[in-house]
């Protein structure tokens, strides 16, 4: 999902000359499929999940009882919730940071004046590859690569970095790093592509002027490239924070949150509460907490976009 703000959605409409009253219904007719869909599949479910979160034994029992904020207290006070928050924070911040650094590095390299167009086009296709795979495929591919007998361990043992094959995804000490690494691999192209478009939009003469003033490559990067890319970087970083903190499929298919909760995220924790333990009330409280967190991030994103306009 891309989070967009309506830059021009509320642009003034043309001055209606005639049949103004009749026209008032026309836009709603055009909007009605959207409104019906969003009410049934967005508004009602959100009301439902908030309702569930305030009840006990929903879905599993016929007559749930009102429980106030008990479910929230139980979720927020649980050990597993704290673990999941810490893991999600680590997973998200490290992923976003690495996406940004790799995206910047690769886009600057791919934009180099020193290489010809064909070379750059070839590398661009290779660099974009991780983006073309669905998460299910990425998960399974890395399970193959990171298998104790897999090719990554073979290379590490051959180079003398490790003595024996490491169970990257099933050792408590490495699993969180391994899933974070996989997510970094999977997600950097999105940054790279956006930054590349941004780099190509920076006027050449800014660099010419800097060279005349005797600025070296690094100075040009710090004083021209970074400030010019800043709006894109901030937007992408917030978007990536929202997506990565909601990541479910990758974790679910590589570690399932294990071993012993070391890769448990807020999303996997909520899923397990609902569909493994059938604690739908707790899962709903947790789902509402995640919703609130995402809305806070979204608020900052929208405010940033508004500030740019």
């Amino acid at each position: 999902m891309v989070l967009l703000t309506p830059k021009k959605l509320d642009a003034p409409a043309p001055v209606a000359t005639r049949a103004k009253k009749k026209r008032n219904l026309v836009p709603f007719a055009f909007l009605s499929p959207t409104i019906i869909l969003l009410v049934i599949l967005m508004l009602i479910p959100i009301v439902m999940v908030i309702g569930y979160s305030l009840m006990d034994n929903v879905i599993m029992k016929k007559n749930p009882v009102f429980a106030g904020f008990n479910n929230y207290v139980e979720v927020l006070g649980s050990e597993i919730f704290r673990t999941a928050v810490l893991n999600t924070t680590f997973f998200t911040t490290v992923s976003v940071g690495a996406h940004l650094v790799l995206g910047l590095l690769f886009s600057v390299l791919l934009n180099s004046r020193l290489l010809n167009g064909a070379t750059k086009a070839l590398f661009r296709v290779i660099y974009v590859l991780p983006w073309l795979f669905t998460v299910a495929i990425i998960a399974i591919l890395w399970r193959l690569l990171l298998n104790p007998n897999g090719v990554v361990n073979y290379v590490l043992v051959t180079l003398g970095i490790t003595d024996t094959g490491v169970e990257w995804l099933s050792s408590p000490g490495t699993a969180l790093f391994a899933v974070t690494f996989i997510n970094i691999w999977a997600g950097y192209p999105f940054f790279m592509v956006s930054l590349l478009a941004g780099l190509q939009g920076i006027p050449r003469d800014l660099y010419e002027a800097a060279r005349v003033d005797g600025a070296n490559g690094l100075q040009q990067f710090v004083n021209i490239t970074l400030p010019q890319l800043r709006p894109i970087i901030v937007s992408m970083a917030v978007l990536d924070l929202i997506w990565t903190s909601q990541q479910f499929a990758l974790i679910w298919m590589t570690t399932g949150g294990g071993p012993v909760n070391v890769t448990e995220m807020l999303s996997t924790m909520t899923y397990k509460m609902a569909f493994s333990n059938y604690q739908f009330s707790l899962a709903s409280a947790s789902a509402v907490i995640i919703l609130v967190m995402s809305m806070v991030l979204a608020y900052f994103y929208v405010r940033h976009q508004k500030a740019r306009d």
């Binding site: 836009p27 869909l37 009602i44 290489l115 290779i126 399970r143 690569l145 090719v151 073979y154």
Partner: protein
């Protein structure tokens, strides 16, 4: 003087090239390994030392998937769902975008904010209520259930993108039709849609990708083998007691082909659609 400058440039070029090759190994090796593994026999997957091409090189893994009706059904399901989501999202979003771009009406700002905010609602939040809602609507384990669910995630983006696109088109275009007695439907379908093809293609590709890749709801809102989509099918292969790695790699390669084809043919639209959120 000019010679040393040339030498320095050659040195820099080598440096950039080496860095690019290093990055390409990071990005491309896993994909190459997937491709190589899909041609191996399952006993050769973890052989030591590892090789790209083995004695067992064959298309057997592909043949076994393509000849298995259960696995082909995953692909049929994914295509049906993704194409339906793409088509319906575009139609509904074109209507909404037309309303936003060409009319003023009460609550316009509020509806805007809702559409923007909806994009940040985490899928996991909707999962618990959807389960019950889909059973209630008799859409559990059906195409309709998946299609409508995915539209919730594709519509807001599509509406905002297409509204932006329509706003770049001069109002005189459709106003002229209206003056000639044509209704708003004529203005939208005869005038705006034909000139908006590039924007529609971008949004369409994006929508298709979201639907093709979706995992969480496909996992939860379908139940029987014959309703599973490709991402879930891949996981089901993994769940069997002995891992058929070569087949899993082959189904992965087959699973990324639609996206690869879209990418190759519509690279330009791909970039513009994807980056529109971040680049003005």
């Amino acid at each position: 003087m000019s010679k040393t400058k040339k030498q320095r440039e050659a040195l820099e070029r080598t440096g950039v090239l080496l860095a690019l090759i290093g990055g390409a190994v990071f990005a491309g090796f896993p994909v190459l390994w997937m491709l190589a593994s899909s041609f191996k026999s399952n006993t050769e997957i973890f052989e030591s030392p590892p090789r790209f091409i083995t004695e067992g090189f064959s298309f057997a893994a592909y043949a076994s998937i393509l000849s298995d009706p259960t696995k082909m059904r995953f692909f049929v399901n994914s295509y049906v769902v993704a194409l339906a989501v793409t088509g319906l999202t575009l139609v509904v979003a074109l209507f909404a975008a037309y309303a936003f771009s060409r009319f003023d009406f009460p609550f316009k700002k509020t509806i805007n904010i809702v559409i923007v905010g909806v994009q940040a609602v985490p899928p996991i939040t909707l999962l618990v209520p959807y389960f019950g809602l889909m059973v209630f609507l008799r859409m559990f384990n059906t195409y309709q259930g998946l299609v409508l669910t995915y539209m919730v995630f594709t519509l807001p983006y599509a509406i905002i993108m297409l509204t932006g696109y329509f706003n770049t088109l001069p109002r005189e275009l459709d106003e002229a039709v209206r003056v000639d007695g044509g209704g708003p439907m004529t203005a939208l379908w005869r005038i705006l849609v034909p000139v908006s093809v590039p924007g529609i293609v971008s949004v369409g590709i994006y929508t298709f990708m979201i639907a093709w890749n979706e995992y969480l709801f496909a996992l939860t809102l379908t139940k029987t083998q014959d309703m599973r989509t490709v991402p879930i099918g891949i996981q089901l292969l993994m769940g069997q007691h002995s891992y058929q790695w070569n087949e899993m790699m082959a189904i992965s390669i087959l699973g990324c082909i639609p996206i690869l084809i879209l990418y190759i043919f519509f690279q330009r639209y791909f970039m513009s659609g994807m980056t529109a959120g971040a680049v003005k």
